[in-house]
C-alpha cells in the first residue's frame, strides 16, 4: 500500500480520440504496488496542483502503468506536451481501488461512461469472458478502449447517446438486461455522477453489489488536505470521507452521489 513520488519515462504515447491520450510509463516500483482502480497524481509543469488520473492498466511483469485521460483544461493540456522518452513526475499509486472477488464465481459487469471507461480495464482482464463491459459515449468519435475491452474476452457493449455506433441510448438499458440474466456477482462503474446513480440503483434493484469510482477536485491526493470530500452512509450514520485516500472507489450502497 505504499506510494512513490518520482519521475518515470514515457515509453508510449497515443491519441485515442480528440483530446484523449494514452500514456504508458515505465515505473516498476509503482506497478508492483498498484491495484485496479487506484490513481496517480501527475505534475503539470508550471501548475501548483497535480492532476489526478486513474490507472487504466498495470503490467507488473513489464513494470508499466497505462494512463488514459482527457484534456479538461490547461493543466492536463500541459501534461500532453510530454512525449516518448520524456519523464512524467507522478505520485503513485494512490487511493483504494476496486475489490474484486478472488474467486471467479459468477459474472461481473463493468460500466464506463466516457472518460470513466479506463479504470476498469484490468477488471475485464481478470474476468475475461466472465465480464460484461458496457461502455457509454456521446457519439462514435468519442469511443475509446472498446477494442481493449473486447480483446480481454469480455462481452463488450458500446452505447452512444446519438446511436452513431452500437446501442443507441444510455448504458442503463443494456445494464438492466444483463442484470436480469442473474449470476452477476458485482457491478463496477466509473463515469458521470448521473450515470453512477443510475447504475447503483439498477444494481440495488437486482440485489447485486456495486462499486463506483468517484471524481473530485483534489489537493494533495494523499489524504492530508481533506479537500476532496464525499459523503458515505454506514449504519445509518453519515461520514465525510476523502475521495483520494478513502476512495476513489466506494461501495455503491454506501456513497451519497
Amino acid at each position: 500500500m505504499s506510494f512513490f513520488c518520482n519521475s518515470y519515462p514515457v515509453i508510449e504515447k497515443k491519441a485515442l480520440a480528440e483530446d484523449i491520450y494514452s500514456y504508458t510509463i515505465l515505473c516498476p516500483e509503482v506497478a508492483n504496488n498498484a491495484s485496479i482502480g487506484q490513481f496517480v497524481q501527475i505534475k503539470a509543469e508550471g501548475y501548483m496542483l497535480r492532476r489526478p488520473i486513474s490507472i487504466c492498466s498495470v503490467d507488473k511483469e513489464k513494470g508499466t502503468l497505462r494512463l488514459v485521460f482527457e484534456v479538461r483544461g490547461k493543466g492536463t493540456d500541459k501534461i500532453t506536451e510530454l512525449n516518448k522518452g520524456d519523464l512524467m513526475d507522478v505520485i503513485a499509486p494512490l487511493g483504494k481501488g476496486f475489490t474484486t472477488p478472488a474467486k471467479k464465481e459468477g459474472r461481473v459487469i463493468v460500466v464506463g461512461g466516457g472518460i470513466g471507461t479506463p479504470p476498469m480495464l484490468d477488471i475485464a482482464k481478470q474476468y475475461g469472458e466472465n465480464c460484461t463491459a458496457i461502455l457509454g459515449f456521446r457519439s462514435f468519435d468519442r469511443v475509446i478502449l472498446d477494442k481493449d475491452y473486447a480483446s480481454t474476452g469480455a462481452k463488450t457493449i458500446v452505447c452512444t447517446d446519438d446511436g452513431s455506433v452500437g446501442v443507441k441510448g444510455m448504458v442503463t438499458g443494456p445494464l438492466t438486461e444483463e442484470l436480469a440474466k442473474g449470476d452477476v456477482a458485482c457491478v463496477y462503474a466509473c463515469g458521470p455522477t448521473p450515470m453512477l446513480k443510475a447504475v447503483v440503483e439498477a444494481a440495488k434493484a437486482a440485489g447485486v453489489d456495486s462499486e463506483v469510482s468517484l471524481e473530485q477536485r483534489m489537493g494533495c491526493g494523499v489524504g492530508a488536505c481533506v479537500v476532496c470530500a464525499c459523503t458515505v452512509v454506514r449504519g445509518g450514520k453519515e461520514y465525510v470521507l476523502r475521495v483520494c485516500k478513502d476512495g476513489p472507489v466506494f461501495k455503491g450502497e454506501e456513497v451519497v452521489l
Binding site: 513520488c5 477536485r217 476532496c228
Partner: protein
C-alpha cells in the same frame, strides 16, 4: 567551511532541528506522507485545525487552481479535539518532531475548553487559528479586530501554560495592530500569514468554482504579501514571528527569514512537490555554506531596508 551549518531554530524556548514546519491544513495529522519520508525530517508539524467537536467542513468543490497558487475552502473538517488527543497526538509524539496543535472555535468558550484539554497533554505548542476564512464563525471573525484577537488570546493564555502561537489573517487593514493586541494578551509568538480571501468563477456556468463561493488563496502568488507582512509584524512586536505564505524554495525561505521570521511554515508547495521541505532545508544549508554563515538564526531580520 568544513563544519555543517546549524539550521536549527528556537521559538519560545522550543527547539526545532530545522526551520520548516508543515503548515496547518496541508499535512493533516502527519500520517499521509510517511511513505516518502519520516516526519522527523521536518522541524515541526502544525496539525490540521481542530475544534471542540468534529466538523464535516464545506460542500465540495473545495479547491481551485489559480495563477501560482490555489484557493481552498475546506471549512475546518476535523475529527475533534478528543480524537486528536487520544489518537493522533500519541502517534505524533513518537516521531521526533515538534508537534503543534492548531485550534479553532466558534466561541471564546470553545477555544478555552480546547486549550484546557491540550494543557494536560504533551503537545509542544498551540497555534490559534483566528483567521480561517472558510467558516462563518470561528475563523476570521476573531482575527480581523484587535478586540476579537485579544479576547481569544487572553482566554487561551489563561487556560494553558503551553507556548501559544497566534496565526494572523492578512485580510485586515493593519496587521501590526492585531499583532500588538495579541502580544499584549500574552501570545508567545505569531504566525504570519494565513490565506488571503479570494474567488474564482467558472465563466461557462457563471458559478464560483468553490461551493463556498470564496476561499483562501495560498501558494507562491501570495509570497510577496507574506514577506511584507512578516517584515512589518516583526518590526512591530518583540515576540518571534513564524513566517509563512507561498514558500516553495530555499531562496524563499531565506528571504522570509531575512524579513524577520524565526521559523517557517510550508503548505501549498508540498502539494506540488512532497519533498519540498527537504529540498528547502538542503538549499538553506548550501546557502549558509556558500555565504560562510554558521548559524541560520543569524540571518533572522537582517534585511537592510532602504
Amino acid at each position: 567551511m568544513s563544519v555543517k551549518p546549524d539550521i536549527s531554530v528556537n521559538v519560545c524556548g522550543q527547539n526545532f532541528k530545522n526551520p520548516i514546519i508543515a503548515a496547518s491544513g496541508a499535512y493533516g495529522f502527519g500520517e499521509d506522507y510517511t511513505d516518502l519520508y519520516p516526519l522527523s525530517a521536518l522541524g515541526g508539524i502544525s496539525c490540521k485545525g481542530t475544534t471542540l467537536n468534529p466538523k464535516d467542513g464545506n460542500i465540495p468543490p473545495r479547491i481551485a487552481e489559480t495563477p501560482s497558487g490555489i484557493l481552498n475552502s475546506v471549512g475546518l473538517q476535523n475529527p475533534g479535539i478528543d480524537r486528536f488527543i487520544n489518537y493522533y497526538l500519541p502517534r505524533l509524539k513518537t516521531q521526533d518532531t515538534v508537534v503543534i496543535a492548531n485550534i479553532a472555535g466558534a466561541s471564546i468558550d470553545d477555544y478555552r475548553e480546547v486549550a484546557e484539554k491540550l494543557d494536560s497533554t504533551d503537545v509542544d505548542m498551540i497555534e490559534l487559528n483566528i483567521s480561517c476564512p472558510n467558516v462563518k464563525k470561528g475563523g476570521a471573525t476573531w482575527g480581523v479586530t484587535c478586540e476579537g484577537a485579544a479576547s481569544v488570546t487572553k482566554a487561551v493564555r489563561n487556560a494553558t501554560k503551553k507556548p501559544v502561537i497566534v496565526k494572523l489573517t492578512p485580510n485586515v487593514t493593519d496587521i501590526t495592530e492585531i499583532a500588538r493586541a495579541v502580544e499584549a494578551e500574552g501570545a508567545d509568538s505569531v504566525s504570519v500569514i494565513n490565506t488571503l480571501l479570494g474567488m474564482r468563477i467558472d465563466i461557462r456556468t457563471r458559478r464560483p468554482i468553490l461551493h463556498n463561493n470564496v476561499g483562501g488563496l495560498s501558494g507562491p502568488a501570495i509570497f510577496p504579501v507574506a514577506v511584507r507582512m512578516v517584515w512589518q509584524v516583526s518590526n512591530a512586536v518583540k515576540i518571534p514571528v513564524i513566517g509563512m505564505g507561498g514558500i516553495a524554495t530555499a531562496e524563499d525561505a531565506i528571504e522570509m527569514m531575512m524579513a524577520g521570521a524565526s521559523a517557517l511554515q510550508m503548505g501549498t508547495a508540498i502539494f506540488n512537490d512532497p519533498y519540498a521541505p527537504i529540498k528547502v532545508c538542503e538549499g538553506i544549508e548550501k546557502f549558509l555554506i556558500e555565504n560562510k554563515i554558521e548559524k541560520l538564526s543569524d540571518i533572522v531580520g537582517t534585511v537592510k531596508p532602504w
